[in-house]
Symmetry: C2
Subunit: 384 residues, 2 copies
């Protein structure tokens, strides 16, 4: 095996394209220079289509969690009530952040592997009209479930004045997102998923409705104070030191995304999802999410009683230098998750499926070699 041919098929970080690596290697420039300001403002502008918004998009040096926190500390005050739609580990994170700041977090939970339905939210909001914000996860990375954000937004808008705040960290850029049209108030995402960058940046956009609340509130935190970012972006800059080399890379990523075009990018990801799911079904491996709510970017599989997920993962790494993800929290060691997003194409999906088949054979699990690949090929051929 070539050590530098390591194949990363986890739900983020995702592989970095060579041209993005090169772009990040440009000589460092001052972040208060005119050259950087122009690049920064243009780059922020170019992010808007992926959010489906005319609003400004803010770029933060930090992880996805820092952006989730940004969504909380600017819109709520201690004692406010919020509804958290929890379908896995990342929904729960929103609840924990709210509680840290004294926000009353009402968790609307579904079992891991299921999606949040509009009915669940409607019933709750009718009982609790005082709720000021509803938090949801677009792609629940821990389970491979894509929550129906457009439908949830419609239900919330119909029954409440609450802000609707969405974590789209693990799928924005790979899925449709029409923040303005759907009536979503805040969308946050990260750099290391569909945006094909290293970890270290997060992006956030807020609606006019959200800005009315944000402008009235004193932000509960300092580094994450959105008003400071708005004031600075109007001057083509950032309130605190931006991650310059990652911004260089982001500009190159946006070139790549624009060359392919968002509709084609979404179709490519849907195709990779469908290929992966067809393969797993052909291999008789249980999928955690129903087809209807299946994530476009990550597929979770539950091999309970048939083989050990960790044995498969270990064999994939040892024999083929391929990394897939395991489970999180109570699913740790029990499931495996295949990332298919970012710098990844249908042939890469065939590759990981073939390696999974061979690894299953090696660990003594029941497998018909080639069956998963064939099912995925059939999906791909029907598409091209």
């Amino acid at each position: 095996m070539f050590a530098d041919k390591m194949i990363l098929r986890i739900p983020g970080p995702t592989p970095i394209p060579a041209r993005v690596q090169s772009a990040m290697n440009q000589p460092m420039i001052g972040h208060r220079s005119g050259k950087f300001s122009a690049l920064f403002a243009r780059t922020a502008e170019r992010l808007k289509p992926y959010f489906g918004t005319k609003q400004d998009v803010y770029i933060l040096a930090g992880s996805g969690t820092s952006a989730l926190e940004m969504g909380v500390v600017n819109t709520l005050q201690p004692g406010d009530e919020a509804a958290i739609l929890v379908s896995g580990a990342f929904g729960e994170r929103f609840a924990k952040i709210c509680e840290r700041y004294g926000v009353i977090a009402h968790r609307l939970e579904v079992p891991w592997g299921e999606a949040i339905t509009p009915e669940l939210v409607e019933a709750f909001l009718q009982k609790k009209p005082q709720v000021k914000a509803v938090f949801a996860t677009y792609c629940e990375t821990s389970t491979g479930v894509e929550n129906p954000i457009a439908d949830l937004a419609k239900a919330i808008r119909t029954h409440s004045d609450a802000l609707f705040i969405v974590d789209a960290v693990s799928n924005l850029g790979a899925v449709p997102c029409e923040m303005d049209a759907w009536g979503v108030d805040i969308v946050v995402t990260g750099s290391q998923k569909a945006f094909m960058l290293p970890t270290g940046l997060a992006f956030l956009a807020a609606s006019e409705r959200a800005w009315q609340v944000i402008e009235q509130n004193k932000s509960l935190a300092f580094y994450l104070d959105l008003k400071a970012y708005r004031k600075s972006l109007a001057e083509q800059t950032t309130p605190y030191t931006p991650a310059v080399s990652l911004i260089f890379g982001l500009a190159e990523v946006l070139d790549m995304l624009e060359e392919e075009g968002l509709p084609a990018i979404v179709k490519r990801h849907e195709l990779m999802r469908d290929m992966t799911r067809a393969a797993m079904k052909a291999l008789n491996i249980k999928l955690m999410a129903e087809d209807k709510y299946a994530s476009t970017t990550v597929t979770s599989c539950d091999p309970a009683g048939v083989f050990h997920a960790e044995a498969l993962r270990k064999m994939l790494t040892q024999q083929f230098n391929i990394t897939i993800a395991g489970g999180q929290q109570h699913l740790k060691g029990k499931i495996f998750r295949i990332g298919h997003m970012g710098y990844c194409e249908p042939l890469d999906v065939l590759q990981v499926i073939s390696a999974i088949e061979m690894s299953l054979h090696q660990i003594g699990a029941p497998v018909e070699l080639g069956a998963g690949v064939k099912a995925a090929q059939e999906v791909l051929i029907a598409h091209v």
Copy 2:
């Protein structure tokens, strides 16, 4: 001019060595993988000597400001009183962060260009024994003043039980820092200064005394909750997604720093400071800081009444592709600041001085060509 030969002589970000760029180009790996965990834990361990501590050093994806905020939200509660030693823009930032969280911030201010003295702090602490933390800036980047941290620590330890929290963003790695021996409780710094990395990482270490307070406090923020970082580092990981490519770069930086050795690094920076100051004196350009409190990493000059700082900066960029910094806040447009840290050596200082001389000539300012270079050469020759 070659566009890629742009010369960055600002007090951060600083130029990135080619071998560090290459290290950051390694293929992305999962941040929850064993390979990354081992690298991360080893890299955090290797940061300790630059802090002068046996305590763990925490690595954060964020700007220096996020690390300043980390120093506040883990040690104080709303209503607590803190003393902020303000000698410029970055001292004031600590005060603003405190106030955001309801901490009562007592500002002990000196005019910009002067240093904080132990006497000032002693007198205040005797009047206000209830102060729970004292915040200081090691290098006040906005003025080029290095505050006497060891002496301040001694004064605080003698007269108070307050924690002593130090912003060393713009000089750690280039100056002596003996956190444990001096009795400093928290030191924070950033990646883009003496550590020769792109912007995007911050580092923090805390004393046993600080940990006793931190463990008792509920952190006022979530992403910046130090207890979560401590728990994760014990498991060789981070609570939230780390900036993987910057950690690759940091490991390479630490190789470079260890090859040169900290004593030699400190001497190199002191030499570059002395060369720069000798040159400015020879050119009759007023230095903002006294020799005794002159920053090792950035020199601030005040050309009031002789020439316009911004005209010099513009000419340097246009003719020589060299960037130096201007003033901040009320000094914007009035002063200029020369960075001499990180991937910068004495010959680079001679280069920037010669370009400053020629630019002064071009803008019609009084200058004897070569006079500054000669003075700096004499300092260098006496040293080698």
